[in-house]
Amino acid sequence: MTLLSLRGITKRFDGKPVLAGIDLDVARGERIAILGASGSGKSTLLRCVNFLELPDEGSVALDGETVGRRERELTRVRQRIGMVFQQFNLFPHMTALDNVMEGLVTVRRVAKAAARERAERELARVGLADKAAAYPAHLSGGQKQRVAIARAVAMDPELLLFDEPTSALDPELVGEVLGVIRALADEGRTMLLVTHELGFAYHVATRVIFLAEGRIHESGAPDEVLKAPRRERTQAFLRRHKEFSL
């Protein structure tokens, strides 16, 4: 069953087209890895899904309902979609626990005690039960990103967006974050994942799409796109990425 449906999404920045007509259907339980060179529009595509960027043209439908442009509708849709950012975007004036509770209390109006319990459970799930009282400034990058994932998951999103979740991390911290995302994948959650971790995309995604010049250039199962890409640009991209791998 289709959860998310994008039709003809275009976006220009200062007249320069970044997305030039994206059509994409995402079924429940699908995990789509989005690849592409920098500037190919990957992040913008993700940000158009939850309207952090307003598409210039095209429509986004969630669960068969096209999302309008009124602020109230956008806010409601964002409540159903979780997002994890490259730069974490944790709230620095709140502890890890308060970061995870914030959406529940302020947006969902969950009672404090219940929200706290839920937030503690989410932190435990990402292995940070002992960091509940810590402020983001005292956490490592990997820990910050795991708190950010807990914050998104606590809202029970129907769709999770990951925007290069490990790109800002020191190499030795990448594994702990990918482990958490993998666990979420194993629960059958629906995900869109922009990443440069090709190995991770291969193992976790159910489908891979390759963006170039604001369009979906190639799309298919991980085995096809990552192992036997048909199009030249995809092949060149993968060659560059694999150049120094073992």
């Binding site: 409601r76 409540q79 979609i81 979780g82 709230f91 620095p92 004036h93 959406g103 302020t106 998104a152």
Partner: protein, 220 residues
């Protein structure tokens, strides 16, 4: 060599006390009115909506670039001719100081809010917050912390600007000092006493804001 003699000042300590109360009253009014209005104007300056931006900008530029003393005199002597009601010394002085403080603090608020990383808005909007919730819960608390030193400066400035109210004979510390000086022919002692009282009132307040700053900075 001048013979310092504070006896004549001490003999008028009740007049100074009345003045101090007057100073505190106008300070409290202008602090609350100036900073609240400044916050609203600052939001207007931050807004991308022209309907809010242009009036806020016009207000800021006008009151930032005219002297407070002129405003106070204008409100006291000129405005009553134009409007059908009289304006007392307190109202005239409070308006002048508040509007001027609003114009300056508006820029502090705008700058403070603008200095918060865009990612904070993204993080807040992504969990479904409205713009108002994001401002109130996420952006403003962080911005206020950054603004504390500048706002403290504003508050000190307001406290001292209260002396301008003496120009329209509002009873505050300087006005009482002038009175004591003219009655006792002791301007040195009278104005020294006024200066000392200001310092004694302000210095502890400023120390308190340092404590506040440290407490707010606990998460860093």
């Amino acid at each position: 060599m001048h013979q310092w003699d504070f006896a004549s000042v001490l003999a008028n300590r009740e007049a100074l006390l009345v003045g101090a109360i007057g100073t505190l009253r106008i300070f409290a009014i202008c602090l609350v009115a100036g900073l609240s209005l400044g916050f609203i104007v600052g939001l207007g300056r931050y807004s991308r909506n022209r309907l809010f931006y242009w009036p806020a900008t016009a207000f800021t530029e006008f009151f930032r670039n005219t002297p407070v003393l002129v405003q106070i005199l204008w409100f006291y002597f000129a405005l009553p001719i134009l409007v059908p009601f009289s304006i007392g010394p307190l109202a005239a002085a409070a308006m002048g100081i508040s509007l001027n403080s609003a114009a300056f603090s508006a820029e502090i608020f705008r700058g403070g809010i603008q200095s918060i990383d865009r990612g904070q808005w993204d993080g807040a909007r992504a969990i479904g917050m409205t713009a108002g919730q994001a401002m109130r819960r996420i952006v403003l608390p962080q911005a206020l912390r950054r603004m504390t030193p500048a706002l403290t400066n504003r508050a000190i400035e307001i406290f001292k600007m209260s002396t301008l109210a003496s120009a329209v004979a509002y009873v505050e510390l300087l006005q009482q000092g002038k009175l004591i000086a003219s009655l006792n022919f002791n301007p040195i002692e009278a104005y020294t006493a006024v200066a000392v009282i200001f310092f004694v009132c302000l210095w502890p307040l400023v120390q308190l804001t340092y404590v506040l700053e440290r407490r707010l900075g606990r998460s860093e």
